[in-house]
């Protein structure tokens, strides 16, 4: 297929996502889903001293969403929470408009979605889930809910 959506590097991320799987001892987590197309994703974080020290994801999602989550979890590791928030808002702009300031080169491959309005939500979903994860501390004795546990 010859279009600007599924670029090779994006396909690689979707076929072999990084940071996919359960995170041990997460401090924060959240589930996200796209009611319209069926993407389901969970993001788990370890936040220590105001910094994201580790980030992983699980779920069942389309190539765009999976690649976005794969790249995202790599990029946010080591950032302070305010830096993650800033990056998230730049990423939203990238997905909607095709360009945005201060976006790491690795994320730019996702700029192509802006030409496909129905897919923007797929690219943005991991970031929305990340935002809600940062606000949702994990109760010590309660394992994070995985999407599979919902059915």
């Amino acid at each position: 297929m010859d279009n600007e959506l599924y670029q090779e590097v994006l396909l690689q991320h979707s076929k072999r996502p990084r940071n996919f799987g359960p995170l041990e001892n997460p401090t924060h987590s959240a589930d996200g889903h796209n009611a319209l197309c069926g993407d389901e994703i969970s993001v788990t974080l370890r936040i220590e001293n105001g910094k994201v020290t580790d980030a992983k994801f699980t779920g069942s999602a389309c190539a765009i969403c999976t690649a976005s989550a794969s790249i995202m979890t790599g990029e946010v590791k080591g950032l302070t929470c305010p830096a993650v928030e800033a990056l998230t808002s730049h990423f939203r702009q990238l997905a909607k408009e095709g360009t945005a300031p201060d976006v790491p080169a690795k994320l730019e491959v996702l700029g192509g979605v802006h030409q496909f309005p129905q897919r923007v939500k797929c690219a943005v979903l991991p970031w929305e889930t990340l935002t809600s994860a940062m606000k949702t501390p994990v109760e010590p004795d309660q394992a994070p809910a995985s999407p599979a546990a919902i059915s």
């Binding site: 297929m1 069926g38 389901e40 999602a61 389309c62 190539a63 765009i64 059915s151």
Partner: protein
Amino acid sequence: MDMTTIRGQFPFLHEAVNGHPLAYLDNAASSQKPERVIRRMARFLESEYANVHRGVHLLSERATAAYEDARSVLAEFLGAGCLEEIVFTRGTTEAVNLLANSWGVKNIGPGDTILLTEMEHHSNLLPWQHLAGRVGAKVEFVPVLENGAVLDMDAARVLIAGRPKLFAFVQIPNTLGLENPASELCWLASEAGVTTFVDAAQSVGHRPVDVREIGCDFLACSAHKMCGPSGIGALWGRAELLAEMPPWQYGGEMVDRAHYDRPATFREPPARFEAGTPPIIEAVGWAEAVRFLNEVGTEAVREHSVALANLAAEQIREIPGLRIFGPGVRESGIVTFSIEGVHAHDVAFFANERGIALRAGHHCAQPLMRKLGSPSSSRASFYLYNSREEAEALAGILRDAVAFFR
């Protein structure tokens, strides 16, 4: 059926995607419209339009005649006892909401059971769950067996024998490619004194449907799924049941006498259930769609659609990791499937680039798709204007998608 003649009547077939002819396999979501339906609506707007019912002038007479003609065309198409049994609604969804809020609120109380099946569209699930919550009733489900191949008839017998207040079920689900034995189910229910509602959104206009033959008490359908316009559907109900039902929406046309200081009194059905200006243009367009389908023959439509679904299913079944939901042999024009390692959303996107319109997602049947272990799947659904070539193109494109994404 002469495919060249039929395809020639559908203007949308002139569209193309990236130079590929458009193969529209999203008919379970909504159907395309033949030229004559489009023309009829335009002509009606040019020379017959006005508000209906209350007018004595020329256009109002023409509009009223066309609107009520639509009611009688539909009544005959469904085998209704009289035209007063047809209540126009926005669609199947509104019809179910009307039934739940009028008949349901009146007849279902604390401790009562509403029986559904596990394969209902959200529109025949959520209104009943809400009603149950509101009045303290409970909802039970007839299970679906074996990968969605068939309704569990033994369970159905037991659950119906438990005398729920209502058994509401889908005749042709929009996902599984099967058809439920509607008259057998209604017969079991009526033997047990259980009122029945049939969700016929996927069956009316796709196969012959006769409410007396089915033996149900209520039935609903949508025009847009059967070559008619959006914005209109119908609830059919037995006259004696409609007569006892309270209004649901209130406004003009449905009232007999209104007062400042006392409750109003209401008109007889169907007026009682059609508050406000109804979908007038839509009724006229729908009647034309019914005339068109009557000429083609709904049994011919069914055979054609099911044959194409079977053709497509046989070919795609060979693809490694591809799983088709429902029975081995198709009973409707619907083929829902998932492919291991390739998400449905990507499949549909990929197919679209080659001109094939598929649907991806939960198909408004989240609990069912979750039970079948596939929260998101792809669906190809066939209708009278689809061709063998379109059905055959599907397998090749899916193979390419697998190679691309896996």
